[in-house]
Each structure stands twice: as C-alpha cells, then as structure tokens.
C-alpha cells in the first residue's frame, strides 16, 4: 500500500496539549515540514515562548531553547550570532511578542538578525485564561475587558507585521492564516520562503499567522474559523507585507 500521508519527521511523537480547534497544531506541522523539506532539521535551533506554545520544545524534533516571556528574539540573537550557519527560529504568541517582548522583536528586526520568527496571533492571551492582548480587536471580549476592548481604555490593536516592515533589517514579512487548505498551503510557502531567505543571510524574516482560540473566544472550532475570517482578516489583512533584499544603508 502506498503511503499518501505521514506525520512530519520534524515533529516528535509527543501528544500535543493544545485545545480542540486550536491552530497551533497546524502551524507546528507547517514549520516542521518546512525544516524537513529544506534539509534544515538537523541544523535547526528553535526558541519557544511563554504562552500556549510554551511546550513547543517537546513537539519540534530539533534542538530547542525555552525563553523567558517575550525574550525569544534576544535569545535567538545570542544563538544565531554565535551559530551563523544554523537555522534559528522563534515561535511566539501575541502576548509574548506584541506585548512584553515588543522591544526585543523590534530591535532584532532593526538589527536584521538572520533568524525567522513565527508569530501566532490569536488576539488573546490563551494560556493564562483569555485576557486582552495588544492584538485583541475593538469590541472583542476578554477577561480583562469583559464588555469588549475599547479605544479609550486600550487604544487600537497593533499590526506587528506592518510595524516591523518599516525597519530596513526586516527583509520579509507576510501574514497568513490556516483556516482552509488553500490558506494552509500559502502559509507553508511563506514559512519555507522565510527560512530560505534566512539561510541566504538576507536579514530578518517574519511570518504572522492568524490563529483561532475557540476556548477563550467561547466558540466552537468552526465558528472560531468564521470569526477569524470575518473579524481578524479585515483588520489584519493577509498577504506579503514586505519583501526586499537587505541593502546597505547609504551613509551621507
């Protein structure tokens, strides 16, 4: 019998702890498949965050380092600068990256650090139980904004991919989602391209993946996918936000 589908060798056999309907499992798979297909798995060092994907070091089948909350880009800088030929990536959620780790991600991008960041944006703090994130949408309910986020109280949500794209060191930023087969394929292509650009030493590469959190959004997995399409994509548009080769800045 022909094998038509196999679990990626880039993932371990550990059972995922993610909630039913959560997109982390698909995103893990895409990162793992990309590393395997590019022949990078044995050279890969991943850095995982604090948040829902805190145990990612048990799931990716490569060397891993667990960072303090938000500090993954600094940890990855320490690794990549001393191991320039290895494939280094951070895997971070929106609380980790867009809130407490905002300084670290901005400066890693500014310096054009040659690693890849996979940014999983589900517009909420998942692991701690559904608190407001910097990416929580206006009107979206969370346990720390129970009547819905307001501009007066918390300002407008942050578009990280667009913000990082203003930095010359960031050579590639794309926003994707994994709500259906077509988008999963697009997300995979984007992740692979990011790793290729990293290995070409072009600069900092960033993939934002919109993701669902049925548990903390209080929805079924299917409803959560609809909610993502109808609410998140209009505010966080999909597609390539930036793609350029890093040019030496002109000194005048």
């Amino acid at each position: 019998m022909a094998i038509v589908y196999e679990k990626s060798k880039g993932l371990t056999d550990a059972e995922l702890h993610y909630c039913p309907g959560c997109n982390h499992g698909i995103i893990h798979k895409l990162v793992a498949e990309s590393l395997v297909e590019l022949g990078l798995l044995d050279d890969a060092i991943g850095v995982c965050p604090v948040g829902c994907s805190v145990f990612a070091y048990n799931y990716f089948n490569c060397d891993m380092q667990e960072a303090a909350h938000g500090r993954a880009p600094a940890v990855a800088t320490g690794i990549k600068r001393t191991h320039p030929s290895q494939a280094v990536f951070t895997y971070q959620g929106d609380g980790d990256l867009a809130s407490i780790g905002a300084a670290e991600i901005v400066h890693a991008a500014m310096r054009g650090e040659k690693f890849t960041t996979i940014f999983v944006n589900n517009a909420i703090y998942g692991m701690t139980g559904g608190q407001m994130a910097p990416t929580t949408l206006i009107g979206q309910k969370a346990t720390t904004c129970q009547s819905g986020r307001t501009v007066e109280q918390a300002g407008m949500p942050i578009r990280i991919a667009e913000m990082l794209s203003t930095l010359d060191g960031c050579v590639y930023a794309e926003r994707v989602c994994v709500t259906d087969i077509a988008n999963i394929n697009k997300a995979k292509r984007a992740i692979k391209k990011a790793f290729e650009k990293q290995m070409n030493r072009e600069g900092f590469t960033f993939i934002e993946v919109l993701s669902t959190c049925p548990t903390n959004w209080g929805m079924t997995p299917l409803k959560a996918i609809d909610w993502l399409k109808n609410n998140m994509i209009p505010y966080y548009p999909l597609g390539v936000i930036k793609e350029t080769a890093l040019k030496q800045a002109e000194v005048k």
Binding site: D42, A67, V75, I79, R81, T82, H107
Partner: protein, 356 residues
C-alpha cells in the same frame, strides 16, 4: 613578569578575551561602559561576537541563548542594569547554564549615583531573581584580582554549569593599576554535550529549559540545584585573613573597603592596636565557618564590619557566622562616599574600648 598599566574595566574585557570568551552582550551604563567599548573593538578581532543590545534585559537573554548553545558568554553592567538582568539570571541558573556577569557597583537605590557603592550585596548573594538559586560571587579588591577572577570565572561557570558574578565597584572599574597577566590554574571541565547547537548526528534533541510543570519534577530539580550549591560552597569558598593571629578587633570588609582597611591596619598596628582584617573573597559562598572559628578565638574581642552601604548588608552574613560570640560594630557609607582610614581607625578603637 612584566607589569602593564590597565584601567579596571578595560582589563575586565581583556581578561575575558584571554579566557576564551566567545561572545559579549552589553548595554551602556556608567561606570562600566568601557567594558562593552573595549569588547566592541577587540572581541571581533579574536573571532568573537559583540552585540550592543537594546536593553540589559535583552543582553542577559542573548547571554542565555549563546550559553545554551555552548558558548562562553558574558555580560557586564552596573547596579540598575544588573537589576534588569535578574530575570535572565534566574532562567540561566534554572536551566543550569554557565556564564559570567560583571557588576561594577554604584550607589543606589534607583538611579542612586554613578560613584562606587556596595548596595547590591543582598541582590548578588541571595539569588536576586525569582526562585531558589545562587550565583557564585567573586569580589576582587584591586585590578589584578579582577583580571585573575574574570579569567577563572569562565572555568568555574563551566565546571558547575552556573552563572558566576564578579562584583567590583566603580572605583575598581575606573582605576588604572599595574597588573601582570598570570596563567590561570587549569580546571578539568566537563564537555558541553547538553548544548542546543543543532542536532546534527546526535540521536536526541538537546533542550535548554527551566520549566518543570510537574511539582515533583520541580522539587527534584531544586534539590539537584541545592546539591550543586552545596558542592560549590564546599569547594569554592575563599577568604583572606590579614594579621588575625593575635587580633583583638577584626575588621570585616570586601572589595574596595577591604583595600582601605589594609591601610587602617597599618595605622592601628603602629599605635599598638591589635587589629586584623577578615576579607570574604567569595561573597557567596560566604566563608561562614572560617569567620565563626575566628570569632571563637579568645584573643578576638569584637568585630567591625565596614561596607559601602548605609546600614550594612554583608553585616547579616557576619552576624550569622559570628553567632553572637562577640559584639559586632558597623561603619558604613553609601551613595558614593567611601569609608576613610581615619574613620576605620576611630571606629576600631571605639569598638575595642567598649569591650575592655
């Protein structure tokens, strides 16, 4: 051996390079900025990596990343910056990674002053960040010792897979002194087969982590750490005693005040006062047993603890070691003012007068 004139902070950086430091991550802060400045020029010339980080928080996390991938990693800062590094130091200790951290102490709290201070003793010796952990703390009192300790610190860190901290102060960092480049005694160091370097042909993944979700696992990990700290206390405790054999009054001091105390010793001995100096060289592990035994000696009548701290921090450890056997007096200045020889002489005489 030829003597060379070196500024403390630059000597720290050069010593680290000679010790095989692979990478340095730092952020400017007075009075230690010459360390990153020197590193930025010289470390890359030796094939090393220098990054000026966006913050002390980022610097220590870069150290964490590099140390986790098997590198000899270092950062330096001064008091407020060291406060910012505490999160990372806790993770590094929890994940059992070696690294070297230099604190060129200044006066506090808060912004305090850029002048020398010793107000970070508690922070350095009690862990500093969250959780049950220790860093080995070496306290040099001149540039020569600083240079020797920095070189040794990398080996100690590798041997125990633990952060080693050098605490000096703004005076040592900014002062120029003649030094010699001694060869440092070699230690037998374990291979870094735990490092996350990319798996290559290894059969298992190396994971650098301080998370132990199961309470039993976290408890076991902490007991393992405690055993390691006990071994460090057994093997690495260092102190110096000057003229303590017949001393009636013993000054306890570390770092710069210990150096000033040596001059006070000369002045007091010239007047016939039997004075000695007990100087902890490792602040953690503290030379508790040695000080306890000294306190038990019948010729010792009293102690005088001297620190660049308002009400004394090492004083707590001195009390714990002396265990009430003899009275302990305190002389201290904080915020950049250093205790003088005259003050020490007067305080020693006054302390002795009380018990005679």
């Amino acid at each position: 051996m030829e003597k060379e004139l070196w500024k403390g902070n630059e000597a720290i950086a050069e010593a680290a390079i000679r010790a095989g430091c692979d990478c340095f991550f730092g952020y400017p802060i007075t009075p230690q900025s010459e360390v990153p400045e020197y590193m930025s020029v010289h470390l890359p010339q030796h094939g090393g990596v220098f990054v000026q980080s966006e913050s002390e928080v980022a610097a220590i996390n870069m150290v964490y990343g590099a140390a986790g991938s098997g590198m000899r990693a270092m950062t330096s800062s001064s008091s407020p910056g060291i406060s910012l590094k505490q999160e990372g130091i806790s993770y590094i200790a929890g994940a059992e990674l070696p690294c070297v951290i230099v604190n060129c102490m200044r006066g506090g709290p808060g912004l305090g002053t850029i002048q020398p201070g010793q107000g970070d003793y508690y922070q350095a010796t009690r862990g500093g960040g969250n959780g049950d952990y220790r860093t080995l703390v070496l306290a040099p009192s001149n540039v020569q010792e600083t240079v020797d300790f920095v070189q040794e610190a990398f080996d100690i860190a590798d041997q125990y897979r633990n952060p080693v901290m050098i605490v000096c102060d703004g005076l040592i960092g900014q002062m120029m002194e003649p030094i010699e480049w001694h060869p440092i005694p070699k230690r037998k160091l374990p291979p870094k087969d735990w490092a996350a370097t990319g798996r290559k042909s290894r059969e298992h993944n190396n994971i650098i982590n301080s998370l132990y979700m199961a309470p039993e696992d976290c408890d076991r990990h902490n007991h393992h750490l405690a055993e390691k700290y006990a071994a460090m206390a057994k093997n690495e405790t260092r102190w110096q005693e000057h003229q303590c054999q017949d001393a009636e009054i013993v000054i306890t001091a570390y770092g710069t005040p210990a150096r000033i105390a040596l001059t006070a010793l000369e002045a007091l001995r010239a007047e016939g006062v039997k004075v000695g100096l007990f100087r902890p060289v490792t602040l953690w592990p503290f030379p508790e047993r040695a000080l306890h035994n000294l306190a038990a000696a019948s010729h010792v009548k009293a102690f005088l603890d001297v620190e660049m701290s308002s009400s004394g921090q090492m004083l707590d450890d001195v009390r714990l070691a002396v265990e009430g056997q003899k009275p302990i007096h305190y002389l201290g200045h904080a915020g950049g003012v250093m205790p003088t020889v005259e003050e020490m002489v007067d305080a020693a005489k006054a302390a002795l007068k009380e018990v005679k």
